[in-house]
């Protein structure tokens, strides 16, 4: 049981990193990674949303969708859950940390449409994980996202100081860097778990 959890955790963070290997959740990855502090804040917000979303969507699937034979409503029900969760997180954040709320700006409500969150919810069902495994997978997928975004933000902060040719400044060099980071994570593919 514990071994299974560790395998799921490690694969979610490294081998199947949601941003750099599965290419989900690229929007906030590119949008909020100019500073490491905001990137970390975004990572924390996404972790909370993904963890809660994994739990609640699993419960919805198990106790509402399956018993009533309405599995076809999976997508819409999951989006409903995620949207409500993100609204909740926004309200809490605005109250607790107005600075972070301002810094994340438009990217906070964009977590709703973030394919990584819906992706993790759907994958949980697809792989037929039980409740604990779903929760672990969701949380660790978000931790992998946080790892990727913080690493990327660190590199981008350094790039600010460098002499980059005018045509490549800002966005193009960011995309090239993301590609290189993704290639680096390919190294984990051979990890035998």
């Amino acid at each position: 049981m514990l071994r299974e959890i560790i395998v799921i955790a490690l694969s979610a963070i490294l081998v199947e990193n949601f941003v750099l290997v599965k290419f989900l959740g690229i929007c906030p990855f590119l949008g909020v990674s100019k500073k490491t502090e905001t990137a970390l804040g975004m990572g924390m917000a996404v972790t909370f949303v993904m963890a809660m979303a994994s739990a609640i969507t699993w419960l919805v699937q198990e106790f509402i969708l399956v018993p009533f034979h309405i599995e076809y409503l999976q997508t819409i029900a999951f989006i409903l859950v995620i949207a409500a969760l993100v609204q909740f997180v926004e309200m809490v954040l605005q109250k607790i940390s107005p600075g972070l709320y301002q810094a994340l700006g438009i990217y906070l409500p964009l977590i709703t449409t973030n394919c990584a969150v819906l992706g993790v919810a759907l994958l949980n069902i697809q792989r037929e994980y039980n409740f604990i495994n779903s929760l672990v997978f969701g949380t660790c997928a978000a931790l992998g996202f946080t790892l990727a975004i913080v690493l990327f933000a660190g590199v981008r902060e350094r790039l600010e100081m460098s002499d980059i040719p005018k045509p490549l400044q800002d966005f193009p060099i960011a995309l090239i860097t993301a590609a290189l980071l993704s290639i680096a994570f390919l190294g984990f593919q051979g990890l035998k778990l």
Binding site: L73, I76, A77, L80, A84, F88, M91, M161
Partner: protein
């Protein structure tokens, strides 16, 4: 068949209602109260988010002003017009503040200053300054790599010929460049002050001559020329006291290195003979012996001696002196 329709409708509708209720409760519990004066102040502020007031952005300053933590004239960019508008919102009165501009106190261009090494590194003044104070032989000089240019939100700074130059028209005295410069050679000076020393090198004159053709050598010619006790050579560099300086430009003319910036062409004073009552106040005031005339006799300006310091204009009780 009916339960095939009822089941999704009830379950999805039920979930929607449940989440809606939860969010409604949360919005009450986590409600953030906003004083309506804050958006009004934010509207009046320039909106540049430059941080010159010391608060995080215009919304930060607006919140501080409404809470009473910041004065209404805290925004250096908005100036007195903005301060007056904010005072109107807050219901208080304001005082006039003098407009300042930032100036770079260095004239060590590529032609004037010698380099001690060629710098190949990050295009950032803070980084270059760590390597023995920069590539210029003068450790006090401008490194010219543009860190100040990057922080200026108003596009007022340019790098010309290896040093930073500030456009006083565009400068709003927000103070970001002052903080950003690692050599601390950008200062805020009153905008009306046209006379300022463009050097901060504290090295001895002999050394300065070797590495910069225009640097201040601390020869004290300006100190002796100043009749208003406004220029002093402190630590081998000329420093102007802006409270005492009247912009007569004597130091500008006398400086052998031409390092003091100022008006070279000054106007001459002219006394309106019809209004003059012969009180000799202007004659006593003039430090350049440029006014002649005794008591009760109409005074006249000796144009050759007049330097255009305008002190007589300020002192004349009949306002009969003008500058031409």
């Amino acid at each position: 068949m009916i339960d095939q329709i009822l089941a999704p409708v009830i379950s999805l509708g039920g979930m929607g209602l449940a989440f809606g209720a939860l969010l409604a409760y949360a919005s009450k519990k986590f409600a953030v109260e906003v004083d309506e004066r804050i958006p009004a102040v934010i509207d009046v502020l320039p909106g540049a988010n430059c941080g010159g007031c010391g608060y995080p952005g215009c919304s930060g300053l607006a919140a501080a002003i409404v809470e009473g933590k910041a004065p209404v004239n805290a925004c250096p960019v908005g100036g007195s017009a903005c301060a007056a508008a904010i005072a109107g919102i807050m219901g208080v009165t304001t005082e006039e503040t003098e407009r300042m501009v930032a100036r770079v106190l260095c004239y060590g261009t590529k032609d004037n200053a010698r380099e001690k090494y060629e710098y190949y590194g990050i295009s950032d003044c803070t980084a270059a300054a760590k390597l023995g104070g920069g590539s210029k032989s003068c450790a006090y000089g401008c490194t010219g790599l543009g860190t100040c240019v990057k922080v200026c939100k108003f596009g007022a700074i340019k790098i010309e010929n290896g040093i930073a130059v500030i456009d006083p028209e565009k400068c709003t005295a927000c103070g970001q460049c002052v903080g950003a410069c690692p050599k601390k050679i950008i200062e805020l000076i009153p905008a009306s002050q046209s006379t300022w020393v463009k050097c901060k090198s504290r090295d001895k004159g002999g050394d300065v001559k070797n590495y910069c053709s225009v640097g201040c050598i601390g020869c004290k010619i300006c100190e002796k020329a100043c009749k208003f006790d406004a220029v002093h050579v402190i630590d081998n560099v000329a420093v102007i006291d802006y409270e005492k300086c009247v912009n007569c430009s004597q130091c500008v003319i006398k400086c052998p290195k031409k390092i003091i910036q100022g008006k070279l062409e000054t106007k001459k004073a002219r006394i309106n003979e019809k209004l003059c009552v012969g009180c000799t106040i202007c004659k006593k005031q003039c430090k350049f012996e440029a006014i002649e005339g005794d008591l009760k006799i109409k005074h006249k300006v000796i144009e050759d001696n007049c330097v255009g310091c305008e002190q007589c204009v300020l002192k004349c009780p009949k306002n009969c002196i003008e500058m031409v």
